[in-house]
Symmetry: C6
Subunit: 267 residues, 6 copies
């Protein structure tokens, strides 16, 4: 079991550039064992942040990418059939609760609304998880912390977190880093020099202004890093931006031309 | 089996501040073995109350967080495959009925409307549970009591308890405690001094007035305790309120500013 | 098998107060082996009546609470995996048909409309049940009788019995007992004296007049008995009526006040 | 296997009163091995007719009550887990095709429209049934015949037989027998004397005229027989008609009064 | 395995009357290993044609009647539990691809639109079928050919083949044969003499003109053969046409009378 | 395992005619380990391109045809029951990630939107795949690359890739090749001489102009190759075009005539 736990440890310090007081607040929440919700758009660094905090706090990290097909059993565990009969296997949530890991439910709004109810007993004073199939009432490890991510831009009538779920978490807002910081991130992660990184960030800022005017969502920092890596690998900047920034986010010819023109302003 | 039952006993007296005659009425319902429905908004203390009553009455407590995927088998039990063939395992409802626990179905309206029909035979004079797969007609233990919680604010066309279910329960209304009591609760649970607790309760009262005017639901006592704990842990009050009270319940920038302003009035 | 059958026998005579000629008509239907449908609102005594008749006719009673998730296999039976391979287990309908019990499908309209088709071969001259998975054509025991309950008030476009199902049954209408009889029932079942029982019945009559004017359904006799039991246990009548009669059936503040006022007229 | 087949034989001649040339036409279809569709309202004698024909032609009869949950595997067969591994078990359709029975799919329109496609290969010149899971292509026994029943009154946008299915069958129209014949049937099946039978048929005729004017479907012959049996068992005619004819088919008070009045005209 | 293959061989030459150059085109498609789509209304001879071609080309024929419940596993195969553990069993598509049969997916539009995606890798240059559960990438036998049938009249918003599926096939249009050929077919298949066959075809032609004017689809050749067989078996022509042509395709009294009148013109 | 991997190697160089700088850009993406999305209409060569690239980069290729029924387990793997109990079997995605293959998710938009979330951890810096059922956190092989294809023309409200998925990929636009290149492809793949290939391409160009004017999608290069192969096999050009180009893409008589006329212009 220890080996399994070890593979969830964050081996090296993940490079992370703080945007505000989020490190201090997460640490305080951790100390109070208050569950945490990370809010913000796609690709702005939420996953990286939680990896950084797991490393900083010295806790293993169990990440679960949520999806609509995920059943409570996928989270909690199930009986497997073995040579000697059935054997219980903890699901990732149970594993994290039992061994004191940080459990990160990524894009929790994708999970079935009512499946999220399964995490409620872990998020109030009980800090317990009933393993009903096993007939065990698991008391969470003292170091266990539940963290979820949530993209408010995806709210819809069909998919939103219930208030009774939201109220169980403290929340931290994330957004794209301010230009100076983002350029530093792009340069560090992609290997381009500062000038190129700055120009990529300028393009990203322009494209983010088009959100709601033909684009569903702004360019993520991750995309800027992608473009930077292609440039660092020798691809011409315009072709790199076309492949990494423009083509992925729009299928509309006019929008594509507009974005290509924005790219041409900077490269 | 005794060990399993023991893990459902409430070990220490849960701190509970009564709001009215709910302790006496619950005790009378228990004496009459009348099933009880706890009505009220999210986070106002229903779960804590039922834990307190289980402790006061000396009964084990089996809590089941209801969700839409919960099948009758999840409640009642199923056959498991074992080295020696199949073995029946009681579900939590059956377990509670057999051993005389209080069975608490939390957020019962989340369960499939027709699944709730499965509890009917336990809630009338028969006090029986047909385990159809096992071919057993379980007569409930004399001490068994069924308790459900229900948030009227969540009623919708799709999700409401059937009248034929509701009529099987006596009901107790819960709401947020009055300010003096709530401040006492916040201070006791979070560790902040009385003045800070009072200011947090003031903020909560303001926010509750916005219910229906941009907020789906009011701030829960639990959230005020969260904020108190962060403050007690050294976080600046405004940052603590932002993280624990404001960010979790709204994604709307205007509402966020309004709530932040309300916080600034008190801290 | 005999033991299993015995647990379905109604041990003591259930107290039952006839409202009309329903006992004679049910007995005649039983003699003609005509399947019977009990129609009427929630909590007016249909379940008690069928228990009484099972006792009077000396037949075991198998009750099945219908729900939307109930599959044909839940009714008919299935193969279970055993140490020596698979073993067939009769479902409750098959069990009743094989051993000559009265089989009572409670709230049959909850079952999937097409699942109810599975009972058709048992309700015409064939009186047979094809156990297709087992390859057996079960001829029903000579004493077998099928009884269903049905609440016409729940009819909707989505949920109604098919005509081809209804036409297979003789039907008995049930409603709330007339005041004198109902007061007798409330006094007998709750232990309150006749005056209190009469006042509870008066409150019930008032509330039933509100059906369709803000209440979905009238107060059931069962609820009046609940209130009586609380009063008999020492709870003040107004508090008892609030808990047992008013809070369970409405979440609307105006309706709650109106009902509380009606209670205050009598206590 | 022979024993299993025997239990599907129609032991005694089912009493059947022909309404026209349906016996001769069915016999001709049988000789040509043309699949047959029996069309007509609920309870007019389709099932009795096919039992009569199975007896007359000396073929076993396998009846399958169709429903929406019926899968292809329920019809065709499946592998069962056994002490020595898996064992194939023919479903009822396969059983009938293999051993030369008449296979009667009752209320076929209830089956999933696309499931009915599974019977296509048995209804054209191939007369074959691919058992895909078993890897067998079953050629139907020379005496196999497929018969389906179909109630045109239930047609809807959601549920109708596909043209490509209908065109594979010859069809026979059924309706309620003419009064003289129906009275003879009612007298024979219920044991009442001819005068009473005639009056019951008169009531039935009246009620059938209300179809489409408040009644979804007319009274079936089966219901008249039910009423007759109650009368023959000593129940007063009006009470018998109320229980067997009126209450089962309407929940509407006005319609109930109208039908009770019609009954009072004759008894 | 050879035995299993043999049972899919078309033993005797199926009688087939060509309507145009479809035999030559199918042969050319077979030579080019181009997948073929047979388009046309119900019962016009598509199935007979593919049987004829399988015989003419000397290939075994695996026919799969498509339906909405068909899963990819039903087509591709699955693991079965055996005395010695699990054993893989090829589904019919895999079987045909592995052994070089013609695989005929009848009424492919009934299959789930996305399930049809499973056949894509077999219909382009790869001619491969990934057996993902088995971890095998099956290269199709050199003689394998995929054929699908498709009735354009059934197109709807919900059910149509995807363009990306259609484009993988060459298509042959089928329709009802011209009168002279159809009469020859009816006479050959039913055993009636030419004059009767001609009159049946005249009736069919009339009825086909009503398609879209009260009939959803025209009379199929198969239905005319059905009528012929009844006549050949001694049934009066009008009764035979009523049973085999009119009753199966309409439930509307007016349409039925119109068709009966058309029959009376010819017989 | 090596054998299994070998069967996914592209044995011979797939003939591929580049349309632009797509080979260089894909190679750069591969070097940067940036996941790649191939965008474009049906049958324009995306699959051929990824096969070519797998060959050129010397990596095995695991292709997965996505469909709506595909579960996460189909991608990731599952436990199989074996003679010695359960045994884990990698799904194709896990297989590719573990052994360093290129994994190509064809028509990814067919997969359930939320199932695609399962690939997220493989497409960011973690390059990890949590095998939750197995309790393993698989770190992808250094040579692993994820490639998806996507047809923008199929976008709809129901089916579109999520922005948070799209932003994880660099994208390459594909379309039909320009006429000269397409004629070269058709000639090479079908065996017709250049003049015929050119005429086929002219027909294709005409038909593509009808996209949105009665045709849902343009003719694919694959269809032109189909027509060419029939012609090369001796079929008259007009018949070959009718079978391979016209009949597959339209059921509308007017459109069919228009396309046939276009064919007649060139042959």
């Amino acid at each position: 079991m220890k080996d399994t736990l070890d593979q969830h440890r964050v081996a090296a310090e993940p490079w992370y550039k703080p945007q505000g007081d989020e490190v201090a607040l997460f640490t305080a929440a951790w100390t109070a064992r208050m569950p945490v919700m990370l809010k913000g758009p796609t690709g702005c660094g939420k996953t990286r942040f939680v990896e950084h905090m797991a490393w900083a706090l010295g806790r293993p990290l169990v990440t679960i990418a949520c999806n609509e097909d995920m059943t409570a059993s996928d989270l909690v565990g199930r009986f497997l059939l073995d040579a000697e009969g059935t054997r219980w296997q903890d699901g990732p949530l149970t594993f994290a609760a039992r061994h004191g890991a940080i459990c990160y439910l990524d894009e929790v709004v994708e999970a079935r609304q009512d499946t999220t109810v399964a995490i409620h007993p872990l998020t109030d004073d009980r800090r317990a998880l009933p393993l009903e199939k096993k007939g065990e009432l698991l008391r969470a490890h003292a170091d266990f912390l539940l963290v979820i991510s949530y993209n408010p831009g995806y709210q819809s009538l069909m998919k939103d977190l219930k208030q009774s779920t939201k109220q169980r978490f403290g929340a931290l807002d994330f957004t794209w880093p301010e230009p100076g910081i983002e350029a530093e991130i792009v340069a560090h992660e992609s290997g381009v020099e500062a000038g190129t990184a700055g120009r990529l960030v300028e393009i990203g800022t322009r494209a983010r202004n088009l959100k709601g005017h033909g684009l569903d969502e702004g360019l993520s920092t991750r995309m800027l890093i992608h473009a930077g890596r292609l440039i660092a690998g020798g691809v011409a900047p315009r072709a790199a931006c076309s492949m990494a920034l423009v083509r992925p986010i729009t299928d509309d010819p006019d929008m594509r031309d507009a974005l290509d023109a924005a790219v041409a302003t900077w490269f």
